[in-house]
Symmetry: D2
Subunit: 212 residues, 4 copies
C-alpha cells in the first residue's frame, strides 16, 4: 500500500504543547485517498533528527513525506518551499545544543526546494477557506533541519518520495496572554489533510501523464 | 423573564460577511442562565444606529446589552472599556455618511465606560482558552457609535441595563489572502456566550450583595 | 510672554532612556513663534504626576500644554485625542504602585478630549514627511494619566490652556535587538516643534477670528 | 586599487523613490578603508539584472559586491544570508514580466549563501545603535534575483569577490500614510558603510591569516 510519512514535533522550551505532534499522531494509520499515513513525533533535537529521520525514511520508503511544525506568531498555514543547510539556535534544542551557523550536512548542498506541489497546496487551502501562504524560509531551527534532512536523504538515497514542510499556527489556548494569532486545531488538521490529498492527486496526475 | 440584548452588525464596504450578525441571530431566543437573548442586527449606518438603538433599548429594557462587531486585523477577542462621543470615517458608512470629528450626541459627555464586568469577562475568556484582551478604544466607526449610543441611552433614560461592546476577529474564510489573523466562528460564539454568562453572574452577585 | 509647557517623562523599568525627557529639556527656554517653552521632566509616578502637574500648570499658566511620552512598538508619531479617568499597570510605576482600574480623579469625568488641534497637527506632520497618526487611546499608564490630569486641571481651574499628548517611537538605539520600529530623535524633535507651531497658529487664528 | 561594487535599485510600481539607489550613487567613487566604491543603480527588471549584472561583475572584478534594496514593512536593516534560484512576482517588474516559479538560472544550484561576513555585520550594526537582523529569505523579486545572479556569477566565473545583499527600510517620508516603519536615510547609509567596513576588515583578516 502507498504510504505517507507525517511527522510532527514534541514540546520544547516554554512550548509545552505542540499541535504538530497531536496532528501527526491523530493521522497515524488513517487511510487518505488509498494511502496509509504513518504518523511520527520527532524530538526537538538536531542530533536525533539528523540520525533518526534518514532511518525512518529508508525503512518506510513513503511516497509522500510531509513534515509539520509549529510557527509561533504566524496567523496562517505556511507551506515551506526551501530548506537550507544551516543550524542556528540561540536558546538551543532539547539537548541544550546551540549551533551557530553550522551545516546540517557538512558538504551538503546549500538548499533544497520542497518537492511537494507547494503552490497547488496553498491555492487549494485558500479555496477551502483556510488562510495559507507560501514561505521561503523555514528558519534555522528544527523545522528547517527536518525538511533539509528529509530532502537530502531522499536525494542521497535516490528515493522517489516527494517531501516538504508545513508550519501551523498556535492553537487558541496557546495564544492566550501572548497577543499572538492562532488557528483552531481542527482547521490546521484539515489543512494537513488537504496537503496530503493534493500531494496524492499530484502523484496520480504525474503517473498518468507518464503513462500516456 | 430577564433579557439580554445582543446586537451584531450587517455587512459594509468590502466586508460582505459580518460574523457578528450571524452570532447575534444565532443566539436570538436562546435562553442562557435563565435570561432570554434578543438578537438584533444593526445596519452599518450612523444615522440609523443613533435613531433605532435607543428605541430598541427602551422597548426591550434588557438587563444586559451586549453589542458585538468585527475587528479586522485583531487576533483576539477585544472587550471594549470606553466609548467616545466622536464620529470619524474616511470611507463612510452604508449611507455614504463620512463624518469628520462630529459628536454622536451633541452636548453629550466625552465618553462612557462600559458597565459590563469587562475585566472579569477577559479573565474568564482566557481561563476558557480564548485569546482575549481589554481594549481602550473601539475606534470612531459604528462599533464605537453603538456602544456610545447604548450607554448614553441607558444613562439618559435611567435604565438599569449594564452595557458594553466586544470586538471579534475575522473568521478564517475572511482572512484568506489578507495575511490577517482570524478566529473560528464557534470560538467567537463561545466568547460571546461566556461574556453573557459572566455578566449574568455579576448581576446576580450584585443583587445578592444588595440583599444582604 | 506667551508660554508653552512641554513635559516629557523620565526612565522607568527596563527603559533606562526616555527620548521624551531629552526632547522636553532640549526645548527648555527655546522661543518658538514668540512663545517661550518651559521644558519639564515628569517622573513615571502616578502619585507625583497627580500631585505635581496641577501645581506646575497653575504656576506657569501656559497657553499651550504639550505632554510627550514614549510609545514602545509604535512606528509613527501618535497624536492622542482622548484621556480616560483610569489607572491600570501590571508592572507598576517607579514607586511600585500597581493600580487596577482605579480612577485618576475620583468623581472626575470619564474622559477628556485633547484641546490641541490634533487633526491639523497630524496633517501637518505628514506634509512635512513625518509618519503620524491620530490615536484614540493613550493607554492606562502615566502618559494617559498626565494627559488626563492636565485637561482636568485646566477644566477645574478654568485655565485657558490648550492641552494634549503626543506619543513618540523608540529611538533607533533603543530598538536594537527588539525587532521594534523606531524614529530618529531629530525627527521626533521636529514633530514636537511642528505640533507646537501648529498649536500657536491655531491660537492666533482663534484670536483673530474672535476679534473680527 | 581594491574595489567595492555597491548596487541599489531604481523605482518600481508605486514606489517612485528607492533609497537604495540614492545610497549607491552617493557612495560612488567614495573611498572607504582604502577601497574605491563603484555605485551602480540596477533597473527593477529580472531580464536586465540577469544580463547586465554578470557583465558588471566581470568587468569591475570587485573585491566586495554589496547589493542593497528596499524592504517595505521592515523596521530594521536585514542582512540576507540566502539567495534562491526562483522568480515569482504577482505584480511584475518594470518590463511587465510576471514569472511564476521560474528559475533565475536554469540548471543552477537551488541556492547560494552570502559570502559576506553577515553575522559580524549584524553584530557591528547593533553595536553602533542600528536595528539589524539576519534574514533567511530575500523574497522572490529583484532583490533575491540580484543576490543570486551575483553569487552565481562569482561561482561560475571563479571570481574572488565576496558578495551579499542588505535590505533597508522605507525612509520616513515614504512611510507617511502607510502605518509602516521607517529608518532615516542617514542611518541606512551608515549601515551600508559599516557593512562595507566590516567586509573589508574580514578580507584583511583572512588575508593576514593566510600569510601566517
Amino acid at each position: 500500500m502507498s504510504k505517507v510519512l507525517l511527522t510532527g514535533f514534541g514540546p520544547w522550551g516554554s512550548e509545552k504543547y505542540n499541535p504538530s505532534a497531536e496532528i501527526a499522531l491523530g493521522f497515524n494509520n488513517v487511510v487518505i485517498g488509498g494511502y496509509r499515513v504513518v504518523g511520527v513525533v520527532l524530538p526537538v533535537s538536531y542530533r536525533r533528527v539528523i540520525s533518526d529521520l534518514p532511518e525512518i525514511l529508508v525503512k518506510i520508503k513513503p511516497d509522500i513525506a510531509l513534515h509539520i511544525g509549529l510557527a509561533p506568531k504566524s496567523c496562517e498555514v505556511r507551506v515551506e518551499r526551501v530548506a537550507i543547510n544551516l543550524m542556528y539556535s540561540e536558546k538551543g534544542d532539547v539537548d541544550g545544543f546551540k549551533p551557530v551557523d553550522e551545516p546540517i550536512v557538512p558538504g551538503g548542498p546549500v538548499a533544497y526546494f520542497a518537492t511537494l506541489p507547494t503552490r497547488r497546496i496553498v491555492e487549494r487551502l485558500k479555496e477551502e477557506g483556510i488562510p495559507a501562504v507560501l514561505s521561503y524560509s523555514a528558519g534555522t531551527f528544527l523545522c528547517n533541519c527536518a525538511m533539509y534532512v528529509s530532502l537530502h536523504t531522499i536525494a542521497a538515497q535516490r528515493l522517489e518520495t516527494i517531501s516538504g514542510f508545513i508550519h501551523i499556527p498556535y492553537i487558541p489556548q496557546q495564544a492566550v496572554g501572548k497577543s499572538a494569532p492562532s488557528m483552531c486545531l481542527h482547521l490546521s488538521r484539515k489543512a494537513v489533510e488537504i496537503a496530503i490529498k493534493e500531494s496524492i492527486d499530484y502523484l496520480k496526475q504525474r503517473e498518468s501523464s507518464k503513462n500516456r
